[in-house]
């Protein structure tokens, strides 16, 4: 054996698995399909606005030719462009009338470098949901199973936030919260007074507000309130694989990383009933090679992992590895986004703030939780909020030129607020990822073919979220209140998940309660593919906790000789 363990992917999930396995003394290989990235040296976070090329805008012809999908992500700009794939080089198929936005980057650290850094725990409202409403399947775990692992990952990653004592948004081991601004405080008071069932709290985020000795030992420092996070952070102030998990894994001496290595398929040994090898194609030379290990973790992202499983056919698994249930690739989910409302506030014109807080505020789910009955749909949504004073950009829409314009834009504009809904998406068997029958990528690998749409439940949820957001803003004294609009195409929240789900029954799920494949005992999957339901909170913290939990379980099984 080359290694004790192979981890495919170096993003949030893969970084966590590598750290835990290495710390358990296992020789671990991380295989990353993208290029190597040097923490700090490769970031453009110290460029001023006048130094950033074209004031942050990527050349229009380049966007049209190479980034038509990736550029739809809010964090895509000329200083962060390196964290997104070129659509022209990494195509995928969708039906023409059913777009799906697959937004991603191929490089060491994956999307942990340009993620939104919002970190919330799921709760038994999520884990019990199937028991109550029958949608999807039952999670094979409950909050008590994952809670200690949330503790573990929060402590190491460094999560800033306020404890609220809510059962449906569990408290955690938080670093000090960032403060709400004047308008947010007023909005919180009014909203909570009008609706004792609702809560407004500052966004919980993976930022070091007060680094611990453990953080500092990894070379991480406190958040400097710059809000250029999407470029990478030289202070290591937000959690990423490069600031935190991979350096910790490296310290053990047990970590090996290979980059520019595209996993083509996993080999299956029918006699031993195990994954016996990982075949890769060198991204640059296109030469093939393979690696062996006792256990394999798939952390290649939901759709990437699905592509590899479906490509890994054998006599034992003609429909793809670990796919006896025919659920690999099915039940693709995202969060419903593009919904909510925006408004401006006439008051607090004499108040402002200093610094650029890299998080907003959060209104956790209340529909079908603290407000039962009345909703014409299942599950629910939370709101991520943003507020601040309008900047000089308002001058491009407001009439005025000359000294008068300059004088006006010298001072901040009216306060504005956005409530941005994130809605749960129900799992549906026909929302699926397949391999394209004929088209292949530049390395000869079949393209993924994604067919995913929102259903009636999502449409009703979106309508409700738009109305609630507008109502809360109006009640809090906002003017010019307008709904954000229609649901964005699935994939737009970059929370894709569910295509190799956990479950109790091998006939309807791929993974057991420890993210181990029902069908293949030395195969684990801990990226978003494992999710049995989407919940309404940002999923990354859950991927971290499940990854750490599964890695330690695998280490136990290896130690006892069970795998």
């Amino acid at each position: 054996m080359d290694f004790d363990a192979i981890v495919v992917g170096s993003g949030i999930s893969g970084g966590w698995v590598a750290k835990e396995l290495c710390e358990r003394g296992l020789k671990t290989l991380v295989i990353e399909r993208g290029r190597h990235v040097d923490h700090r040296a490769d970031y453009l976070d110290f460029a001023t606005p006048w130094e950033v090329s074209n004031r942050g805008q990527v050349p229009q012809d380049e966007v049209a030719e190479h980034y038509p999908i990736q550029s739809q992500c809010y964090a895509f700009n000329s200083a962060s462009k390196q964290w997104w794939v070129r659509d022209s080089e990494h195509p995928y198929a969708t039906p023409t009338d059913r777009p799906y936005n697959w937004i991603r980057g191929y490089h060491l650290g994956g999307r942990s470098l340009n993620w939104g850094r919002q970190t919330y725990r799921m709760s038994d409202v999520d884990f019990n949901a199937h028991k109550l409403d029958g949608h999807g399947i039952d999670w094979p775990i409950r909050y008590a199973d994952i809670s200690p692992w949330y503790d573990r990952v929060e402590k190491f990653a460094g999560i800033s936030g306020a404890n609220e004592g809510l059962e449906h948004l569990p408290d955690g081991l938080f670093l000090p919260p960032m403060a709400l601004n004047c308008l947010e405080v007023a909005f919180k008071q009014r909203t909570e007074a009008d609706h004792p069932t609702r809560r407004v709290t500052v966004g919980r985020c993976a930022h070091l507000t007060e680094p611990t000795p453990e953080h500092i030992a990894l070379g991480r420092g406190p958040c400097q309130l710059r809000s250029v996070c999407e470029r990478g952070c030289g202070y290591g102030a937000y959690f990423s694989s490069l600031s935190a998990t991979l350096p910790a894994a490296q310290k053990t001496g047990n970590l090996t990383i290979v980059t520019d290595a595209i996993v083509e398929r996993l080999d299956y040994d029918h006699a031993k009933q195990r994954v016996s090898g990982v075949r890769v194609i060198d991204a640059k030379t296109k030469q093939h090679r393979s690696y062996q290990a006792r256990v394999v973790f798939m952390c290649a992202s939901t759709i990437g992992t699905t592509q590899i499983l479906l490509s890994s056919t054998s006599e034992a698994f003609p429909n793809g590895l670990a796919n006896r249930s025919d659920t690999v690739g099915r039940y693709l989910m995202d969060h419903v986004v593009g919904i909510g409302a925006t408004g401006t506030h006439p008051k607090f014109r004499d108040r402002y703030y200093y610094g650029r807080r890299p998080t907003g505020f959060y209104v956790p789910r209340y529909v079908n939780v603290t407000e039962k009955g009345g909703a014409e749909f299942a599950r629910g949504f939370g709101f991520q909020g943003y507020s601040g004073r309008c900047s000089w950009t308002r001058g491009a829409q407001e009439a005025g030129v000359g000294a008068e314009l300059k004088e006006r834009l010298r001072m901040p504009g009216p306060w504005e607020m956005q409530l941005i809904g994130f809605g749960e998406m129900l799992p549906r068997a026909d929302n699926r990822v397949r391999l394209h029958a004929t088209r292949r990528d530049g390395w000869g690998i079949p393209l993924v073919d994604i067919d995913c749409t929102h259903g009636e439940n999502e449409r009703r949820l979106a309508e409700h979220a738009n109305q609630d957001a507008a109502q809360m803003l109006t009640a809090a004294g906002f003017e010019n209140v307008a709904p954000l609009g229609k649901m964005a195409p699935p994939g737009s929240s970059v929370h894709e998940m569910g295509t190799a789900r956990m479950g109790r029954d091998p006939a309807s799920s791929v993974l057991n309660a420890h993210n181990q494949a029902h069908d293949v005992r030395n195969l684990f999957i801990t990226d978003g593919a494992c999710m049995a339901s989407s919940g309404s909170v940002n999923p990354s913290l859950t991927y971290m906790a499940l990854s750490a939990r599964a890695a330690n379980h695998a280490a136990d099984l290896l130690a006892s000789g069970e795998i």
Binding site: R55, Q60, Q224, R351, Y353, T393, K406
Partner: protein, 186 residues
């Protein structure tokens, strides 16, 4: 720009035949020199267009108690950004705004924008800006945005006119505006 042309033509008719003839000749001359550059080659703006951009930017963001668009190098920045960033369609649209401003100068005062005294340039831009934004003219709004981002995200605009800290180092969530003084550039 069809709606714009219609409005300007009506105003031009009121101004009389002499202006119409002179204006048309000037516009033709202007148009001939504004041929679009091939992608990636040559300057995005002709010398004449660049001169007009300098005058227009100076009107939109003049030097006052702080430096204005010219001192901040906005016209040269926009010329370079149009070449490096703008698609052919964007460059054409940008030039079309300059052409429309020149057309308005002839229509309103019977002379080229460049030949008019500063107060008349300001009068033209006030009218042009209000009317264009009033009918939500996307081309002009984008043009104005580029002038503004050229200025407010220049070193002069961000640090002398507004406030900018590369590393704020702290979050102070609720302060009297007077304590902060000016708007933040980012």
């Amino acid at each position: 720009m069809t709606a714009n042309d219609g409005k300007l033509d009506r105003r031009a008719l009121l101004l009389g035949a002499v202006f119409l003839v002179g204006g048309a000749a000037a516009l033709m001359r202007f148009s001939r020199k504004s041929t679009a550059t091939s992608d990636g080659a040559g300057p995005a703006l002709s010398a004449e267009q660049f001169s007009l951009l300098e005058l227009v930017a100076d009107v939109i963001i003049p030097g006052t108690d702080t430096p204005g668009a010219l001192a901040a190098g906005v016209p040269a920045f926009l010329r370079d950004m149009l070449a490096a960033w703008g698609s052919r369609a964007t460059r054409t649209e940008f030039v079309s705004v300059l052409e429309a401003i020149e057309k308005q100068a002839w229509a309103q005062f019977g002379a080229s924008f460049s030949e008019l005294p500063p107060e008349r340039r300001l009068a033209i831009m006030r009218t042009f800006d209000a009317e264009s934004l009033g009918r939500q003219d996307a081309a002009y709004s984008k043009f104005k945005y580029l002038v503004l981002v050229g200025y407010y995200h220049s070193e002069v605009g961000a640090t002398q006119e507004l406030r900018y800290e590369l590393v704020p180092g702290a979050w102070r969530a609720c302060l009297p505006l007077t304590e902060v003084g000016r708007a933040s550039a980012v």
